[in-house]
C-alpha cells in the first residue's frame, strides 16, 4: 500500500481528508510502529484519503513542556504549527493521546487550530458510519479483555466511551479493572517519566498497574497509547505472564478484525 506525505499531496494539488499525525513513538518505537501500520492499513482499506507529514513531523513538545522546559516546547510548537498552517491542515487524527491533548488543548492558544481526533474516537465513528466493517466471529469474539484508560484521553479529555464502544463492536467480554474511567490509574509514563528512571519507591507504577490489569483475569489488555503499551508490557513481563496476557492497541485489534 502507498502512504503519501503532505508534500506529495500539495505537489499534485490534492487535499487529503485527514492528516495522520504519527507521533514520535509511532514513528520510531518498534512496538508502536506496529500500531501505526495497523491504523494506516485500516485507513487505506476503507478508502480514506490521508496524508502524513513524514520527515516534516516533529515532536509536539509534550515531554519537554511537562518536564518544565517551556522554551523547548514553544520552539517545537512554533515549527509544527508553521508546517501545518502552511499546508492549510484542518483535520488531524493521531494514535497518541499526548499528541491529541496538545493539539486539542494547547496548540490553539499558539495559533494552531485544527479539528483533532484520537484514533479510538475516529475508529468508533468509522464503525458507526459503517465505513469500517467488523467480521462476524472475529479473533476476539467472547474473549475476556480489559481496557486501560490512558490519563490524557480519559481524565485529561473525558473520553471514556468511544474506545469501549469500539471494543464492544469486536464482540468481546469487557472486564473492568477496579480503577477505571475517571479513577483509572496511570501506567507511569506520563509527565516525561518515560524518559527517565523512576524516583526511589517501593515498587514501579507500571508493575502496580499491570498487576491490576492481570487481576481481572483478562487475556488482553487493550490500550490507546504507545507509552501505556510499553509500560504495561514491561509490567506483565515482570510477573512473567507475557505468554498468557498480551497488550494490544485498539487499532491493532480492529485491523485484525476487518471484514
Amino acid at each position: 500500500m502507498q502512504v503519501r506525505s503532505m508534500a506529495e499531496y500539495a505537489a499534485s494539488g490534492e487535499t487529503p481528508e485527514v492528516l495522520f499525525w504519527v507521533g514520535c513513538a509511532g514513528s520510531f518505537d518498534q512496538r508502536a510502529q506496529k500500531v501505526t501500520k495497523a491504523f494506516a492499513t485500516i485507513l487505506d482499506k476503507v478508502g480514506i484519503k490521508f496524508a502524513i507529514l513524514g520527515k516534516e513531523e516533529m515532536c509536539t513538545g509534550d515531554p519537554a513542556r511537562r518536564a518544565g522546559n517551556e522554551f523547548l516546547f514553544q520552539m517545537m510548537a512554533y515549527n509544527n504549527i508553521h508546517t501545518l498552517n502552511g499546508y492549510g491542515i484542518k483535520k488531524v487524527v493521531t494514535i497518541c493521546p499526548h499528541c491529541f491533548n496538545i493539539f486539542k488543548n494547547e496548540y490553539p492558544a499558539l495559533g494552531g487550530n485544527y479539528e483533532v481526533m484520537h484514533h479510538t474516537t475516529f475508529l468508533q465513528q468509522l464503525i458507526n458510519d459503517g465505513r469500517v466493517r467488523i467480521k462476524e466471529g472475529g479473533a476476539f469474539k467472547g474473549k475476556k479483555i480489559t481496557y486501560h484508560d490512558s490519563c490524557y484521553l480519559g481524565r485529561g479529555n473525558n473520553i471514556y466511551d468511544a474506545p469501549r464502544e469500539v471494543l464492544q463492536a469486536l464482540d468481546i467480554e469487557l472486564v473492568e479493572m477496579k480503577r477505571c474511567r475517571s479513577n483509572g490509574m496511570c501506567c507511569g509514563a506520563g509527565g516525561a517519566q518515560m524518559f527517565k528512571e523512576e524516583e526511589a519507591g517501593t515498587t514501579r507504577v507500571n508493575f502496580e498497574r499491570a498487576n491490576q490489569a492481570m487481576e481481572t483475569g483478562a487475556s488482553i489488555v487493550a490500550v490507546n497509547c504507545p507509552f501505556c503499551t510499553t509500560m504495561l508490557t514491561d509490567g506483565i513481563k515482570n510477573k512473567e505472564k507475557e505468554d498468557s496476557v498480551s497488550v494490544m492497541d485498539i487499532a491493532e485489534m480492529v485491523a485484525a478484525s476487518l471484514a
Binding site: 502512504v3 506525505s5 514520535c24 514513528s27 520510531f28 510502529q33 501500520k37 494506516a40 492499513t41 502524513i52 513524514g54 520527515k55 513531523e57 516533529m58 515532536c59 515531554p63 519537554a64 513542556r65 511537562r66 518536564a67 518544565g68 522546559n69 517551556e70 522554551f71 523547548l72 514553544q74 520552539m75 517545537m76 512554533y78 491533548n101 486539542k104 488543548n105 494547547e106 499558539l110 490519563c151 481524565r155 485529561g156 479529555n157 473525558n158 479513577n183 490509574m185 496511570c186 507511569g188 509514563a189 506520563g190 509527565g191 516525561a192 517519566q193 518515560m194 524518559f195 527517565k196 528512571e197 523512576e198 524516583e199 526511589a200 519507591g201 517501593t202 515498587t203 507504577v205 502496580e208
Partner: protein, 441 residues
C-alpha cells in the same frame, strides 16, 4: 442580672467578630500575595460548579460511606446555624427563645428537626474519630499529618461533639423548667429527642437546673465564637473557602497546561525578528520563569492551599505515592499553606516581606517529590473542593528546569534529542517515515 448577661454577651460577640475579621483580612492579604490571574470568564459554568461541587458535594460521593457521614455533619452544621441565629438574638436582646411565640407550632417542629441533626452530627463525628484514631485509615494516617494536622482534625471533631452535647442538654433542661412553669422559660411543645430525656434531670432543684441551663447556653455560644476564631488556623476553613474555590475552579480540560505567553513571544521574536517590539531603554521587568516561592504562584493556587481539607483523597490515588515515592499532592498543598503563613508572619513583623533565605521550592517541596509526578491528574480529579495540586507541581518544575537547569541527566538528553533530532530519542529524523517503506514492501 439580665442586663449584665446581655452586656457580657454583646462584648463577647464583638471580640469574636473583631478577631475573626482581623484574621480574615490576613488570609486575604496572603492570598493576594499570589500572581494576578483573571478568572472571571463563564460565570454560569462557575455558579454551576459551585452549586454541584461545593453545595452539592458531588465529588464526595465517589466514596459513599464518608460522603454520607460528611453530609450529615455538613447539613447539620449549616441548618443548625439557623438556631444559632435565635441564640444570638436572645443573647443581645436578653430574651429567651425569641422565635417560639412567633413561629407557634412550627417552633417545636424546627427544634425537633435540629435535634435530629445534632444527633446525626454527634454520631458522625464519633465515627470519624474512630476511623482516624482507632481504625487508622491509611489516608488519614500518613506521615505528612503527624503533629499539628492530626490534632487539628481531632480538635474539630471533639469540639463539634461537645457543642452538640451542650445544645441537647440545654434543650432537655429547658423542657424540665418549662414544665415547672419557671418564669422566663417560654412554653413550647416538647422537642422530638430531648423530650424523652427530661427524667434525667427531674430530681434536681429548679435553681440548679437554671444554673446548668445557663452554663450550657453560655458554653455553647462561647464555644461557637471560639470555633469561629479557630477556623482560620485550621483545615476546617474549607467550610467557607470550598465555595469560592469551586467557583474559581478550572474549567478547561484537566489535561491542559496553562500557556506561558512571555516565552511564546520570546520564541516568536527569535523566529520572526520583524515582529519583535522596538527595543526601549527601559529595564526589562524582572520576572521568574515558573514558581519558586508562593509569590510566583497564582492567587488561585494560594486559595487552593487555604481550602485544602487535608483529606488525602488526592494522595490516596496518586500513582507516585501509591508506589512509595516521596510525592504526596496533599503535602504539596499543606506546604504551600505553611509557607504562605510564614511569609504572612514575616510581612506582619516587618511591614514588607524581608528575604528570609527560604522558598517553597527546596525548603518545603523537594526536587525528588516534583520529579516523581506523572502529570496523571488523578489528584485533580479526586479533590472534592476543586483543588489543582498539579498546577503547583508544574510551575515549580518549570522553575527547576528553566531557572536552575535542574533536570535529571536523562531529561537533559531527552531535551537535546528533541532539539536536534526532533524526537525525544536519539533517532535520525530521516528515519521518521521508515515504516512507510516497510509497509509498502
Amino acid at each position: 442580672m439580665h442586663i449584665i448577661q446581655q452586656l457580657l454577651f454583646i462584648l463577647c460577640s464583638g471580640i469574636a467578630v473583631f478577631f475573626f475579621a482581623k484574621k480574615v483580612a490576613e488570609i486575604r492579604r496572603n492570598i493576594n500575595l499570589g500572581r494576578d490571574e483573571d478568572i472571571t470568564d463563564n460565570p454560569s459554568a462557575r455558579w454551576k460548579n459551585m452549586i454541584l461541587l461545593a453545595l452539592g458535594q458531588k465529588k464526595m460521593f465517589k466514596r459513599p460511606v464518608p460522603a454520607f457521614l460528611h453530609l450529615a455533619v455538613y447539613a447539620g452544621f449549616i441548618i443548625i446555624n439557623l438556631e444559632i441565629l435565635e441564640i444570638f438574638l436572645d443573647g443581645i436582646l436578653g430574651k429567651h427563645r425569641l422565635f417560639a411565640p412567633m413561629l407557634g407550632n412550627l417552633y417545636p417542629f424546627l427544634i425537633g428537626f435540629f435535634e435530629v441533626l445534632a444527633v446525626l452530627v454527634l454520631t458522625s463525628c464519633v465515627i470519624f474519630l474512630i476511623r482516624r484514631n482507632i481504625l487508622k485509615l491509611r489516608r488519614l494516617n500518613m506521615p505528612e499529618l503527624n503533629g499539628w494536622p492530626k490534632s487539628d482534625a481531632n480538635i474539630i471533631l471533639s469540639t463539634e461533639i461537645i457543642l452538640m452535647g451542650l445544645f441537647l442538654t440545654m434543650n432537655t433542661i429547658d423542657l424540665v423548667l418549662q414544665s415547672r412553669g419557671v418564669e422566663h422559660y417560654t412554653q413550647t411543645a416538647s422537642f422530638w429527642i430531648t423530650g424523652n430525656f427530661t427524667w434525667l434531670y427531674s430530681n434536681l432543684s429548679t435553681a440548679t437546673l437554671i444554673g446548668i441551663e445557663r452554663t450550657c447556653w453560655w458554653l455553647h455560644i462561647l464555644g461557637i465564637f471560639l470555633f469561629l476564631n479557630y477556623l482560620p488556623f485550621s483545615k476546617h476553613l474549607h467550610i467557607i473557602l470550598a465555595f469560592p474555590n469551586a467557583y474559581y475552579g478550572k474549567l478547561i480540560p484537566q489535561g491542559e497546561i496553562k500557556n506561558m505567553p512571555d516565552i511564546q513571544n520570546e520564541v516568536l521574536y527569535m523566529m520572526e525578528p520583524d515582529k519583535a517590539p522596538p527595543a526601549t531603554d527601559a529595564q526589562p521587568e524582572h520576572h521568574r520563569f515558573g514558581a519558586k516561592d508562593i509569590q510566583d504562584l497564582s492567587w488561585k493556587n494560594l486559595l487552593d492551599a487555604y481550602s485544602c481539607t487535608e483529606c488525602g483523597r488526592c494522595t490516596a490515588v496518586c500513582p507516585a505515592n501509591m508506589t512509595g515515592k516521596k510525592l504526596s499532592p496533599r503535602k504539596i498543598m499543606m506546604d504551600t499553606r505553611d509557607r504562605m503563613e510564614e511569609v504572612g508572619k514575616n510581612i506582619q513583623e516587618h511591614k514588607t516581606f524581608q528575604d528570609d533565605g527560604k522558598s517553597l521550592l527546596n525548603d518545603y517541596i523537594t526536587t525528588e517529590e516534583l520529579r516523581a509526578c506523572t502529570t496523571c491528574q488523578a489528584c485533580v480529579e479526586a479533590c472534592p473542593v476543586s483543588i489543582d495540586p498539579l498546577s503547583i507541581i508544574t510551575q515549580l518544575r518549570r522553575n527547576l528546569v528553566m531557572e536552575d537547569s535542574n533536570a535529571p541527566q536523562e531529561w537533559n538528553m531527552m531535551f537535546g534529542n528533541i532539539e536536534n533530532n526532533m524526537a525525544p530519542w536519539k533517532f535520525s529524523p530521516d528515519d521518521r517515515d521508515k515504516w512507510v517503506e516497510e509497509l509498502a514492501g
